[in-house]
């Protein structure tokens, strides 16, 4: 276990280097340096000065692989192309926590709602609660989040006036965006849980538990549910990747001041410094999260030799 963890940690820098390399490659394939402002032509002196300020006077390998990383992480003064008075660090510091809070909240909600949904569907097999749960899951996976979000916004925010319709900072403002972001994944987790629980019911250990005279509730929660946690746990890695980037879409629906706008704007404007920084921040975040999930997986299920290739 420890050796596996260490080996995974050792490949981490290599992985990040690979991602950074591909991001640089993609950025260099896109035309333009993102310095020209769209509306008016810049005087040549200004453009030349800007090129120096952004290190475009250096050869590309020096710029991307030495100066920019150093200015970003060490000096902290790497400017973003589109907002000239802002450094990349300042932008990340103001927007990233918002996106991360939203993402984490949604992730917790997704697990909570998903497990509940799956358990309810199995506990009430053949009754209307099962149909409700299964039906909600189908809606959850087949509507884009922005449509669900807009519907919630109109019904809960505008008609019922129960929560504020946008912005960020108060818990009430986080409620709708988090639910919207969580729903598709909650639906998927519910489906996974339900399938795994039904699988578990076919196993001998459930028959043993029933033969011992345990109540149906105890059988479900204490014996079948742990069995169902594994597929859910292994889904958390990819789900977190999708949720944290999916928050860009939800942020736009609810005007949440997170990374979403910066990401889209930076890509539109070829804001190279901000794009590279964002890609790397998310790569570190998601790869780290995945590592955590994999290690947890090994801890939860001792049968699994995590070092072996996944089946």
């Amino acid at each position: 276990m420890l050796r596996y963890a260490l080996r995974r940690l050792a490949t981490f820098p290599l992985l990040l280097a690979l991602i950074y390399g591909s991001a640089v490659l993609l950025i260099m394939a896109a035309p333009g340096e993102g310095l020209e402002s769209g509306e008016r032509e810049l005087p040549p002196e200004v453009l030349a000065a800007k090129r120096v300020a952004y290190n475009y006077d250096q050869p590309w390998w020096q710029r991307y692989f030495w100066t920019w990383p150093k200015r970003l992480m060490w000096d902290g003064d790497l400017p973003a192309h589109q907002y000239e008075d802002w450094t990349v660090v300042e932008i990340l510091r103001s927007a990233l926590p918002v996106s991360l809070q939203l993402g984490l909240l949604a992730l917790c909600l997704a697990v909570l709602l998903g497990l509940t949904g799956g358990v309810v569907a199995v506990a009430f097999r053949g009754r209307w609660l099962e149909h409700l749960s299964v039906g909600l899951c189908l809606v959850g996976i087949s509507l884009p989040t922005f449509v669900i979000g807009a519907a919630l916004l109109i019904v809960v925010g505008l008609w019922l006036r129960a929560v504020p319709v946008g912005g960020w900072g108060r818990p009430a403002q986080a409620l709708l965006p988090a639910i919207t972001l969580a729903l598709p994944y909650a639906a998927y987790i519910a489906r996974l849980t339900r399938a795994a629980l039904l699988d578990a019911y076919a196993e001998d250990f459930i028959r043993t538990a029933r033969a011992k005279g345990l109540s149906e509730t105890r059988v479900l929660l204490d014996h079948a549910l742990p069995h169902a946690l594994l597929p859910v746990l292994s889904y958390l890695g990819p789900a977190s990747a999708a949720i944290f980037t999916g928050s860009f879409v939800v942020e736009k629906v609810f005007s949440v001041p997170g990374m979403g706008t910066h990401v889209v704007e930076s890509i539109h404007n070829r804001d190279q410094s901000l794009i590279l920084a964002t890609v790397m921040v998310y790569a570190v975040l998601l790869a780290g999260f995945n590592l955590l999930v994999d290690l947890l997986y090994g801890l939860v299920d001792p049968r699994i030799r995590v070092g072996a290739p996944s089946a």
């Binding site: 991001a23 922005f146 795994a196 789900a239 980037t245 979403g260």
Partner: protein, 305 residues
Amino acid sequence: MSTPALDFWRRFRRHRAAVLSAVLLLLLLVGSFGTLPWSVRGMRTQQLQAARQPPSSTYPLGTDEVGRNLLWRMLYGGAVSLSLGLLAAGLAVGIGTAYGAVAGYVGGRCDAVMMRVVDVLYALPTLLLVMLFTVSIGSVLQRGLALSGETARFVVLALAIGGVSWLTVARVVRGQVLSLRERPFIEAARALGLPTHRILLRHLLPNLVGPVIVFATLTVPQAILQESFLSFLGVGVQPPQATWGSLAADGVRALNPVRFDWWLVVFPGAALAFTLLALNFVGDGLRDALDVRRGVGAAGRSVAG
């Protein structure tokens, strides 16, 4: 009489939801592609005096803010959405099958490394990468192949979405190949001294058709959803092009407390939802009919992205 095809049909027919869904999909396909010659022009015709009309007998699905008939736009958008989904899924399945088959058949260290790569790719911020792909490869295509902006966008979106959706297919195919590899008929082929590529293409691949078809059906809705997110963020298809996703996104953006043009959201949203539901049902039906084993760990990832 009992041929494999007949057996398959019998099993598939038992799935009422899947059969209904297949019929619905067929109708949608025929409807949106069959009307293309008219919808191409119809989707662009603006009648400013008839802007923001609710559904009526002249405009069955209403009109948008510049007076374009939503019916034409939906029919046209359907053709684009569906072909984008099919193209991206085809690409994903192609890459995934090749990758998974090689990893599973060669095995050993090679397999371990190849599957680690897949694990790692699962953790990438896909949406970010797809956006990056669309801007960089889009311009390359436009310059290199002299494609028009619209076509380049379409191709790039399909390439980018397909390029990040092959992971699940690769996992499933590898799993299948691992179990097939040990079967006597493969051993026999190896004993005959057939070269590896021949075993892969002639003996393994035909046995993979079942799972591959199932996962292709499940990848199409994912691709369509991805495109709708990109359109909503403004990096999908560019106006006046339309897909169901971009129409729904436009509708959501046009919503405000004063004007409530519900039809601009509800109809494209419903088209998307029904198509995605139908594809999921057909996928489930095919899975049962083709008797594909459910790898929960692998199938569990098809929603990611």
